[in-house]
């Protein structure tokens, strides 16, 4: 699962995008991992993430199975971090997303101090991750580089759409919906934040960054 690796964009476009995730290795440190993964999420909340999630149940902004018509006018898109933590019921990958380096640095420091024994990964620009490690006094152990998209790239949409849709590495945020949201913000039919929340609900593991999405939608709507 390379669900955070291949986000589209130049390094500077990840200045507000830090995905930090924890994972246990099967047969090596998965005994008692559930409580440690929950602890990871609890610590993350202290540093004001913009999203939080696990790979089984999804993120902090989820679709509803029983929406009422009234929700069309008064829809709650507030991230529910408590629901994510309470809903974690099996070892899986858990993630916290931050929109600034200071919070990411502080969180990495706190996770280091917590000594959970789980594998922790930082997914962002190469420089951003190095800075996080440097701030925590940790040398990088391993690195997984994204070399971008190749092959028949004529089948890909324009870069503004790609910046949004690739934030769900599982591919659950469709290009067509991302394009529609850019158009809706452009037309003034929705705010960038509202449009970002629609996209966020499709992400099945909570790594979608609604803050970065709102910024990208606003820029795309202005033609930037």
């Amino acid at each position: 699962m390379t669900n955070t690796l291949h986000r589209f964009g130049p390094a500077e476009s990840f200045h507000d995008d830090y995905v930090i995730f924890a994972i246990a290795s099967k047969g090596r440190n998965d005994q008692g991992a559930l409580e440690k993964l929950r602890r990871f999420l609890q610590i993350a909340v202290r540093f004001k993430p913009v999203n939080l999630g696990d790979a089984i149940h999804g993120g902090a902004v989820r679709p509803s199975r029983s929406m009422t018509p009234a929700a069309h006018w008064k829809r709650d898109s507030t991230p529910d971090f408590d629901a994510v933590i309470a809903g974690l019921d099996a070892p899986t990958t858990v993630a916290a997303v931050f929109d600034n380096r200071a919070a990411a640095n502080d969180f990495v420091n706190a996770i280091k101090d917590a000594d959970l024994g789980l594998s922790i990964n930082v997914s962002t620009s190469i420089d951003g991750a190095e800075q996080c490690c440097f701030a925590a006094g940790i040398p990088r152990h391993s690195v997984g580089y994204s070399l971008g998209f190749e092959g028949d790239t004529t089948r890909l949409p324009d870069s503004k759409v790609m910046l949004l849709s690739t934030m769900c590495g599982h591919g659950m945020v469709s290009h067509n919906l991302a394009k529609k949201m850019i158009d809706w913000v452009k037309e003034g039919r929705r705010t960038p934040e509202q449009a970002a929340s629609y996209l966020t609900r499709f992400c099945s593991c909570g790594v979608f960054n609604p803050a970065r999405a709102a910024r990208l939608l606003e820029q795309a709507a202005r033609g930037e």
């Binding site: 620009s125 690195v143 529609k180």
Partner: protein, 269 residues
């Protein structure tokens, strides 16, 4: 996936939500319809759209009146107003589509939710990619294009001919009838999935050869390819071995996932 025609009101929200663009409004039936050849059973429609449970006749009447009056109906775009999507029991080989496309379904071969494995994410504990080695994840179909197994087959054959070993705990490897030749079982060649990842590991000395091989084969496949390269850093946290090779090949390294090395073996044997 099925769409209940008695419930669908042809609002069109699902046509945008489908990552494959495989849902359209049938102009004759006036209902959302799934192109089953292109549908990869990712369940983004069922899992991602919120559901209302409105009366379909009522919604159709309202929509008709608005249409006649040329009034723009502006509902939430991520909602199926009548909960018309109905998952179906998938039989072999179609069930392969869901296993590779719906990230909430764990692969039996790996136990990991999603299409790959732990790769370098747990390298601090597993030691999967050691010093002097390079791990490759060659992902097909993402973002939003999809891939047929017959295209993945081309890459697997080429890698096997080059004498490259496939990662054992990988969903694609688990579907090979002959791992030595990279041959994927014949009965899934006609299946399309949202994405699939081929994983290999080679000595650093072969990294450039593998990249050039991928370049050659990706010209022959009808989809996009995303290449990921995993490397072990030295004791100071630097990678002075693999990154220079990639840069020499013309890649501008912008993004990575970095394993910060806090994991350790804790299981009691």
């Amino acid at each position: 996936m099925n769409i209940n025609r008695d419930r669908c009101v042809a609002c069109g929200n699902c046509t945008y939500a489908c990552p494959m663009g495989a849902i359209y409004i049938d102009p004759v039936a006036h209902r959302a319809t799934i192109n089953r050849r292109e549908c990869v059973e990712c369940y983004a429609c069922f899992n991602g759209l919120s559901q209302e449970h409105l009366n379909p006749s009522f919604v159709r009447t309202v929509r008709k009146l608005f249409q006649i009056a040329r009034i723009r109906f502006d509902p939430e775009p991520d909602v199926c107003p009548t909960a018309a999507f109905e998952p179906e029991e998938l039989a072999w080989p179609r069930m392969v589509r869901r296993a590779f496309s719906d990230p909430r379904v764990p692969h039996e071969s790996t136990g990991v939710h999603g299409r790959g494995t732990e790769e370098v994410k747990t390298n601090d504990v597993s030691g999967r990619v050691g010093p002097g080695e390079v791990g490759f994840t060659i992902e097909f179909g993402r973002p939003g294009v999809g891939v047929w197994f017959r295209d993945i087959q081309k890459m697997c054959w080429a890698l096997a001919r080059a004498g490259v070993a496939f990662e054992k705990k990988n969903p694609v490897t688990s579907l090979m009838s002959d791992v030595a030749t990279g041959t994927i079982r014949e009965d899934i060649m006609g299946e399309k999935v949202l994405s699939a990842i081929v994983e290999i590991k080679v000595p650093v000395a072969r990294a450039e050869e593998v990249v050039r091989l991928v370049w050659e084969i990706e010209k022959q496949v009808d989809t996009v390819v995303a290449l990921g390269v995993g490397a072990r850093c030295d004791e100071t946290g630097e990678d002075a071995v693999v990154a220079p090779i990639l840069e020499r090949l013309g890649y501008k390294l912008e993004r990575a996932k970095t394993n910060i090395g806090l994991g350790r073996v804790t299981n009691v044997q």
